[in-house]
């Protein structure tokens, strides 16, 4: 269990989406807790894909306005394939874990920049 959770957590696509989710929660103007709750409630791969789609839609509007870095397209494809391989719960836990961790220096600067503007 721990091995698969740790390996999913290390996956670049999960890191990419996790970073976007973290910024969506930390930047005061966004504070996208709705996406977090939808992700937490996703039980099936369809629910999970739906939650990701909604998150991206919400994030896109803010990212365009605030010039934020968006998750890459390959990451989305990879994330969905991870769900097929490991199941929703492990991918969900790994993704939400990234939302919890301290922001990196580059991210802190990005968030600070948004606050200044």
């Amino acid at each position: 269990m721990s091995k698969s959770l740790a390996s999913v957590y290390e996956d670049p696509s999960v890191k990419d989406f996790g970073s976007a989710l973290r910024r969506a929660l930390r930047i005061e103007e966004i504070q996208d807790y709705a996406s977090l709750i939808e992700l937490e409630n996703a039980e099936t791969p369809d629910d999970f894909a739906d939650a990701i789609r909604k998150f991206l839609r919400r994030f896109e509007s803010h990212a365009r306005r605030m010039k934020l870095r968006r998750p890459m397209e390959e990451s989305l494809t990879r994330l969905i394939s991870l769900v097929d391989d490991y199941g929703v719960r492990i991918v969900r836990a790994a993704l939400v874990s990234h939302a919890l961790v301290k922001s990196s220096l580059a991210e802190e600067q990005e968030i600070a920049q948004v606050i200044v503007e």
């Binding site: 269990m1 721990s2 959770l5 740790a6 957590y9 290390e10 929660l25 977090l36 937490e40 719960r89 492990i90 969900r92 836990a93 939400v96 874990s97 990234h98 939302a99 919890l100 961790v101 301290k102």
Partner: protein, 355 residues
């Protein structure tokens, strides 16, 4: 010399007897500590000294301090003051006056040959409910009626050793609860392989460490984290640290009317936690510090949810408890958490290894 304590099935009684016998050997051999090993159906005590026959002069003060009423009050909590004092005196007299005979009957050869000492009167004593919750039956305070329950009676030597071990090693955390009543959250660490002086040292380090707890499980989980931190500190500063505990056993005593009764109990494995504690990576230290912080934060009013999820995760680390912990932590980030108590990527990976 090797000594064994046969397990009876009463977990706390058994481990308290092992600690009690270890205390006798420790003080009897001039502070040379025995090693306590859980060997399945018995606790094996290995002692690098001749069998002591009495307490030497230089250890008399330490031995006398073992019978301090302050510590014995906890293991004999269910007795009224007069009875309590009589019980302490009885145990002290038995262990001090028949010291050599008491120890002799736990010698490995003696137990294997099944030769109980003829010099020792092994009268029956009622096991205190505060020492072993499964022995809790009915009234303990004096009443007009005469009650005697043979099923909770044990030999007086075993009883005295268990009380001694319990008073030295058992952790009893008292807390005032609703209705101005007291609750006691009790923790015993079960040894896998420990040196007795190591146990005393750890116990002393954690003697005053406590918070306002939600229950016995919460108290046990926090104390387990503190134990892991103390073992890690010791492992980092000493050349050799071989003390290993297998489990923590916990239960609650609560005040009901004039009596003390037991309630929720359980046990949790310490192997994962101690493995984490002895991991040389600095992230392991961060994990323990963050958990300690979460327990402290969870002990404040309005943050009980945090204490519940962290307790559950430390006691039962699995994907369910991990996810519940994540949910609660993310909500707490909004309320502000100091940077030093936030997970970074590497630290969180260590936590995942614990799942």
């Amino acid at each position: 010399m090797q000594y064994i304590v046969l397990k009876s099935g009463l977990e706390i009684f058994d481990v308290a007897r092992a600690y009690g016998l270890a205390a006798c050997l420790y003080y009897g051999a001039g502070f040379r500590a025995p090693v306590i090993i859980d060997a399945g159906t018995v606790y094996l005590l290995e002692h690098d000294a001749e069998m002591p026959k009495h307490i030497p002069e230089e250890c008399q003060a330490g031995w006398a301090a073992c019978f301090d009423h302050k510590h014995w009050r906890d293991v004999l909590r269910t007795y009224k003051q007069a009875q309590f004092e009589a019980k302490v005196k009885k145990a002290r007299n038995l262990l001090s006056e028949r010291f050599g005979t008491v120890i002799e009957q736990f010698l490995l050869d003696r137990v294997i040959a099944n030769e109980p000492s003829k010099d020792l009167e092994n009268n029956l004593e009622t096991l205190s409910g505060a020492l072993e919750p499964t022995a809790f039956k009915g009234l303990r305070a004096p009443t007009r009626g005469t009650y005697s329950e043979n099923q909770v009676k044990v030999g007086s030597v075993d009883w005295a050793l268990a009380c001694l071990g319990g008073s030295l090693v058992g952790k009893y955390i008292s807390q005032r609860t609703a209705g101005n009543k007291w609750e006691y959250y009790v923790n015993y660490w079960l040894p896998e392989r420990v040196t007795f002086d190591g146990v005393l040292d750890l116990r002393e380090k954690l003697r005053s460490a406590r918070l306002s707890y939600l229950g016995a499980e919460n108290a046990a989980a926090h104390q387990a984290v503190l134990l892991a931190k103390a073992i890690r500190r010791r492992a980092l500063t000493e050349l050799k640290c071989t003390d290993r505990f297998s489990e923590v056993v916990f239960f609650t005593l609560f005040q009901s009317s004039q009596q003390i009764k037991p309630s929720s109990a359980g046990h949790a494995s310490l192997s994962h936690l101690l493995k984490l504690a002895l991991d040389p990576k600095p992230e392991a230290e961060n994990v323990l510090n963050i958990w300690d912080y979460l327990f402290r934060r969870g002990s404040t009013k309005g943050a009980e949810g945090l204490a519940i999820v962290v307790t559950e995760f430390v006691i039962r680390p699995n994907l369910d408890s991990y996810e519940r912990c994540l949910k609660e932590l993310i909500r707490y980030l909004r309320k502000g958490v100091k940077g030093e108590f936030q997970y970074d990527e590497k630290t969180l990976k260590e936590v995942m290894a614990y799942v």
